[in-house]
Amino acid sequence: MPADYSAVLVFIIAGTGIVVFTFLLSWFVQPRNPYKVKTETYECGEPIFEQSWTQFNNRFYIFGLIFVIFDVEAVFLFPWAVAFKSLGLFALVEMVIFITILLVGLVYAWKKGALKWV
């Protein structure tokens, strides 16, 4: 039934509308007095010495990659779980093999030290 999912769109649009409306409401009642010191970036009172848009630790990237592998796997597992009862023991054995292959990947990443946060 396509009408089911219309609620999702309506909620997203209505939610955005409500939030923007409260911002607007706040805009009319708030004082506005920006000056240079007030709009400075907060750095514990020190003058900032450079922008913060710089390079960052590539650990974040590696964890992102591992996440993609296992999250895609979770997406694979959900349809299997829905049909699990009608498929029976055979499906369970197959899924154990599938998960084992991925776990070998996890163990490899573990041994390589990719899971270590420095």
Partner: protein, 349 residues
Amino acid sequence: MEILELAWIFEWLNENLLVPIVGDGEFGILVRNLILACSVFGLLSLIALCLVWWERKVSAHIQQRFGPMMTGWHGILQTVADAVKLIQKEDIVPALADRKVFFWAPVICFVCAFAAYIVIPFGDGLIVSDLNVGILYIIAITTFTIISLMMAGWGSNNKYALLGGMRSAAQAVSYEVPMALSILGVVMVTGSMSMQEIVKAQSAWYGFHWNIFFQPLGFVIYVIAATAEANRTPFDLPEAEQELVAGFNIEYSGMKFAMFFLAEFVNMFTVSAIATTVFLGGWNGPWLPSWFWFLIKTLGMVFLFMVFRWTYPRLRVDQLMEFAWKVLLPLAFLNILWVGLYEEVFSKW
């Protein structure tokens, strides 16, 4: 007892007020959904106001203080006063910030938390739209919160904010996987992802055939991962006050800050509601109306999260990440294996 169920009121209103005016075609459905969205927003604001007050009271009593006492009975109007104050506050945008990203981050953060309530079953028949992918939809839409936190961190152009945003993204993606896999065990025994089906599957034993009794491991994994997903202590590294001075929302003030704050409490209620629905039998229960059972169980879970926050110290960032991948993930697979063997082998003997 039937009269206390709220579903018939909504049905009556729909049939006698809404359908005669706007009809039940596409336009009628649109108007109905809009009204539902506004009422859910009202309900969530009310819940968040109560939860903020409750949290302050719980923390105060754990630390042998009283907490807010001046505004209203035991300070119950304190959060209303806070909300009025936040509306009047000046909205300061840092000169170096990326203005568009800075503006949309709180909007996205709240909308994602809000859109999850389409499939939360508040009671028997009290659900906005019972999507057949229910639980997967919630996992998907609440993940978007990570993007908004990254946007807040990046858009602020502040070093603390960026570090907080990056940390929250790394943390949330790490705990996302065990969380999804712990719910998978329930989907396996239910054979459906629809939230109402999951609740109905637990209605045996006078409403006490809860999944937690068959999958205690899954429940524990879910609670730990959900605490991390909701950025609550002991997993609140993204906003660690003592080192990151509030993390991603450091540059926010006024209503934009209020939206992050609101979304945080809405998210806490969401994860509690999912735990209730998936593991604690949802709105099933004897004698009392279904929405009341849902509320009792969910608020019990919220209380558990609050006690976590005020009794556990914060984890170190390396402990946090390694715990997700080296402990929780293998345990989650073990849980799936256990559920599969239980269903296919032990229950057939």
